[in-house]
Subunit: 270 residues, 2 copies
């Protein structure tokens, strides 16, 4: 299996790339092609929009590539997602795409276009405490279809999103159909009042209200709220689900951390 | 003129209330009734949802009240907006409603329901450096219809929103019709990558794309972006307007500051 790594958002750290290549070398069951675009830097992004789009389009069009693995999140994939989808080569349809966080913009658009996508750990996760296990988990699923890599509770069709990314893709051409979906959300580095406001926005969507259930992953690195919000992330999510008539399905095993699991979108569990 | 102050979001500071009452006493052309709910505090909010809703509903239903002035922003008016609109008393229609920032959720919903609303300074602004001028400006417009209080470039129909609030009300029952509107936006205490992401979301809306033009107020207290975003707020807004086919109409004289001007929504300039 040949896996191409591109960075539609922020640059990949060299050290992360080395660690992931070491893991891949030890496995011996796949080849990892890290596109040089991953190391570009222009302000916030891994190179200008044009360079990020060109790298993504290149690996999408390459018939020798079996999977496209997004290097990391941050911010910026939304800036090139529509253009990448507009000129979709036929070879793009025979691959699996994996990432999470900001890559959710691309996962949404690619899934909507009928391609095979999955939420899952990314190469940059190699730098997290215990993150090499996350990288191995992603590869176990991409290369071997290993069931233990999957979020344990998913009932197909499933999807997973960073809550803030989800909020920002509603109403855009990237928004997928949520009917009957086991929808997993998580978030990181937000204040609780923002989580509350974003849940208001997301649960007002008639499309989101058609999910089978909504489950809450981990909300990490919650930023201070002044004064204290007097609630917590689960109570907030349950409250908005109740108001919107959405079935709250409990907690989910995803998040911006080394334990993050794989969630293939739609009916395909590989 | 009788002006009622309620706090649908966060609590009003006692000191701000005193300063505003002093200004009103000196004017002698209006009466300010500050509802005791303004000083409640429950976690983030000026009392629980029920108390904030009850106070708002009470002043909306009171025929002796000519204007409802939202005490301050923060966060929370979205949590009670739909309920306030659902049981709208007839007396609510004969008043003007003023506020900005988080109060935008209410301005949007009340305007959509056909009521007279305006973006403008709030009582809590009395605590800002130079903020008493902002309070006088709001009263000049509410009580006297003073034209110099207005944002100088507005072409009716106009609307003004905090960009992040606008993003969070799109797709909700509070979303007004933006067709032909002179839309003014501003923001505060955000990182530039968030401004960029929010502009992506907002300008993807077909409703927003029907504005006559979009103008940018002040983006204050921009939080550090690591690495530097390599752009600025005006370039970001112009870029997304260009991508979306929205006419960028230049800068606007609104913001989270003492210079903030009044923007009556819709065709009514009073």
């Amino acid at each position: 299996m040949r896996i191409a790594v591109v960075a539609p958002s922020c640059p990949l750290k060299r050290e992360a790339a080395e660690r992931v290549q070491n893991i891949v070398a030890k496995r011996g069951n796949c080849e990892l092609v890290i596109h040089p675009q991953c190391f570009l830097a222009e302000g916030h992004f891994a190179g200008p929009d044009g360079a990020r789009l060109a790298a993504l389009s290149e690996v999408m069009a390459d018939p020798s590539v079996d999977a496209v693995w997004f290097a990391r999140g941050g911010y910026g994939s939304n800036r090139i997602a529509e253009a990448a989808l507009a000129k979709m080569p036929e070879a793009a349809r025979a691959k699996t795409y994996m990432g999470y966080s900001d890559a959710g913009f691309l996962l949404a658009g690619l899934h909507r276009a009928g391609l095979s996508v999955a939420w899952g750990p990314m190469p940059q996760d190699a730098l997290r405490e215990g993150g090499e296990a996350a990288v191995r988990r992603a590869l176990d699923w991409l290369v071997l279809g290993e069931p233990s890599a999957l979020e344990p509770g998913i009932e197909a069709p499933a999807m997973a999103f960073n809550l803030t990314v989800l909020s920002n893709l509603l109403g855009t051409p990237l928004e997928p159909d949520f009917t009957g979906v086991d929808l997993l959300i998580e978030d990181v580095s937000e204040q609780l009042y923002r989580i509350d406001r974003t849940m208001f926005h997301v649960t007002a969507s008639p499309n989101i209200r058609r999910v089978a259930r909504l489950r809450l992953g981990r909300v990490g690195d919650i930023r201070p709220n002044d004064p204290a919000f007097a609630s917590n992330e689960q109570a907030i999510v349950e409250d908005w689900c109740r108001r919107a008539g959405i079935h709250f399905g409990g907690r989910a095993d995803i998040g911006h951390d080394a334990r993050n699991k794989v969630v293939p979108f739609g009916a395909r569990f590989r």
